[in-house]
């Protein structure tokens, strides 16, 4: 996999927001990549910078408060940060599609479903309105919304939450992008619908060979649908591994904590769930050392002084940012 050309490579991305409490580095020197056709997950608690990472790729960080300070976002070898706004519009929707978290608010309530589906097609693929309509009906069918002809003239409030998210997926897929950024695509949905939407995303990405970045806080989602996983904490990636390896041998205490706090059906033992103690850190006042140190059970003196960088812990594909990751190597299940 490593020798494959990368579809998207984010290098040293630093995105900050000016707030009343001071400058917040929502994303602090993060690097990750996506290969063609693969599904990569970005996992972490709310506010850890995962959504901001995706919005940075789309260059949808709003100035003047938000700013991409540093880094490179290479899409098919081209740095998106060097593109003009007009060139960037050719990438949005055409090359990279995006599925947002809130299907209730992410569709325009006063514009018909048809219009919202066809506008991208008319813009990027230069379809005339009849062709775009035909394609829109086809797209609705693809995401499991029958009777597309009638649906096109309806409005979002006539759709259920799950259907709206299907519609979002249809919109993201409309112009046959190479990459889809799915920002918490199921968080706002009922549990039963969540699985349907995720299955749909996976099927479609396989069918059309679309690469996908799934942003989620749900490790169950990761286990089932992602090839590789990046775990984020306080604006940084603290562990990266193939999904199976991450589950079997987490090498960062935070990942371990996340795994332990989720009930698992594949383990018969009736262990108590162990929550991670403490609160996510205040991004305006990060400690000089490791940001997770105050909550960490494996903390040593060095953790408070110096922040560890992301290093190989188990071959080139498994990286963790922890001074004590070797202590976790033996499958530490304390």
């Amino acid at each position: 996999m490593a020798n494959m050309a990368k579809l998207l490579e984010v290098r040293g991305l630093r995105t900050s927001f000016a707030t009343a409490a001071g400058l917040v580095r929502a994303v602090d020197g993060v690097s990750w990549d996506v290969h063609p056709g693969e599904t990569v997950a970005l996992v972490g608690e709310s506010g850890c910078g995962k959504s901001v990472s995706a919005l940075s790729v789309m260059r949808l960080i709003d100035p003047p408060a938000g700013r991409i300070e540093d880094g490179a976002i290479l899409y098919k070898g081209q740095d998106l940060l060097s593109l003009s706004e007009q060139e960037m519009r050719q990438v949005r929707g055409r090359e990279i599609g995006m599925v947002f978290q809130e299907p209730m608010t992410s569709l325009n309530p006063v514009v018909t479903i048809g219009r919202q589906l066809t506008e991208g097609l008319e813009l990027h693929v230069k379809m005339d309105s009849a062709a775009a309509r035909t394609r829109a009906i086809e797209l609705l069918g693809m995401v499991g919304i029958p009777d597309g002809e009638r649906r096109l003239s309806q409005y979002p409030h006539q759709f259920s939450g799950g259907m709206r998210q299907r519609m979002m997926i249809a919109m993201a897929l409309a112009c046959r992008p190479s990459l889809i950024l799915a920002d918490e695509p199921t968080t706002a949905l009922d549990v039963t619908i969540q699985a349907q939407i995720l299955e749909l995303l996976r099927d479609l990405s396989r069918r059309f060979g679309v690469a996908m970045l799934i942003i989620t806080h749900n490790l169950g989602v990761v286990a089932r649908y992602a090839d590789r996983v990046n775990v984020m904490y306080a604006g940084r990636i603290i562990e990266r591994a193939a999904a199976a390896a991450l589950y079997a041998r987490p090498r960062h205490p935070y990942t371990l904590g996340l795994l332990r706090s989720v009930p698992r059906l594949d383990q018969p033992t009736r262990e108590r769930l162990l929550p991670i103690e403490g609160q996510p850190p205040d991004l305006t006042r990060l400690p000089p050392g490791c940001a997770f140190a105050p909550r960490c059970a494996f903390r040593v003196a060095r953790c408070d002084a110096e922040a560890p960088s992301l290093n190989e812990v188990d071959g080139a594909e498994h990286l963790a940012a922890c001074w004590e990751s070797s202590r976790l190597a033996g499958g530490a299940r304390a």
Binding site: M58, S106, V110, G120, H157
Partner: protein
């Protein structure tokens, strides 16, 4: 949609009836009547009570209230406003030209206000916290701070000095000479419209700012749409509703409330007639004017409601 429209139209009937009862009673609660008002200048205390009773009898003011009311209502149902108690002339004749003038002025001023408020509000929102935004805000606040009659006087002065133009003595209706008519009314419409654009501009600006923060705007941007298309297709339709409401509410006031502006521009509109009718206790004329303004107001509101439902499909299905 059709049933929605019919429902809204029917809802106007009880409202109008309420207005009729209210204005009928209110007028008669106010001390004095048209007979006293007429003779006061001639020293009413010297007029014999018999003479005044005779006058009242002629005008039907001696009848019990319910009888006066039913006969007025009966007339209204036949679209007959009756005679003015003061002049004795048919009210329809008294009102016709003035109503045409006031209605046209109100429409023109509202148009001016809309044409100013919507683009300026959008511009200010797009350029939030830049000098353009501040300039727009100062411009609109200045409009609110300047009474429109004062602005009217300024306009007349400038026109007089530069073009040697004075407001004409006689009003030319639109159907007689459209060009002359528009030349006459455009200045008061600008003066009044500018003033009433202020609230609309602010409303448009804040609604636009709010809408631009919505998730669906981000979705539209993520699709690669250009700013212009995002504004016209996705933002404007959502932001324009409150502005519509404000302008339609102002419209009703413009119809009957421009007493001073009418004076400045030498226009014989409803505003002055209203004041005179009330001062003279001309019950029939005042009642007719109130019903006319109320009906127009309800109709404008109805049009706005339909526009609402047309713009926002969620209202239609409720």
């Amino acid at each position: 949609m059709a049933s929605y429209i019919i429902k809204r139209l029917l809802a106007m009937v009880p409202t109008l009836f309420g207005v009729a009862v209210l204005i009928f009673l209110l007028l008669r609660v106010v001390p004095g009547d048209v007979v006293e008002a007429r003779y006061i200048g001639q020293g009413s205390q010297f007029q014999s009570q018999e003479l005044m009773q005779l006058e009242r009898k002629k005008l039907g003011l001696d009848q019990p209230l319910w009888r006066q009311f039913t006969s007025w209502m009966g007339g209204l149902l036949r679209l007959d406003f009756g005679l003015s108690m003061w002049t004795g002339a048919p009210i329809i004749e008294e009102i016709r030209l003035r109503f045409a003038l006031s209605l046209q002025l109100a429409i023109m001023a509202s148009t001016v206000a809309t044409l100013l408020a919507i683009p300026l509000g959008i511009l200010a929102a797009m350029k939030q916290d830049t000098w353009i935004d501040y300039a727009v805000r100062v411009f609109s606040i200045a409009g609110l701070a300047m009474p429109s009659f004062w602005l009217g006087i300024l306009i007349i002065l400038v026109m007089l000095i530069v073009f040697r133009w004075l407001p004409p003595m006689v009003f030319t209706p639109l159907w007689v000479n459209p060009w002359e008519n528009l030349a006459q009314l455009i200045w008061p419409a600008l003066a009044v419209g500018y003033r009433y654009s202020a609230v609309g501009t602010r409303m448009m600006r804040s609604a636009m700012l709010e809408v631009l923060r919505e998730d669906y705007i981000r979705t539209a941007r993520a699709k690669g749409l250009a700013l212009k298309l995002i504004l016209t297709r996705h933002a404007l339709k959502n932001a324009i509703l409150p502005v519509l409401t404000i302008i339609s509410l102002e419209f009703a006031f413009l119809l009957g409330g421009l007493v001073v502006t009418e004076q400045v521009f030498n226009l014989n509109g409803l505003g002055m007639l209203f004041v005179e009718a009330i001062a003279r206790r001309d019950y029939t004329l005042t009642q007719a004017l109130v019903m006319l303004v109320a009906t127009t107001f309800l109709l404008v509101n109805f049009v706005v409601d339909v526009a609402y439902a047309w713009i926002d499909p969620r209202i239609r299905y409720r």
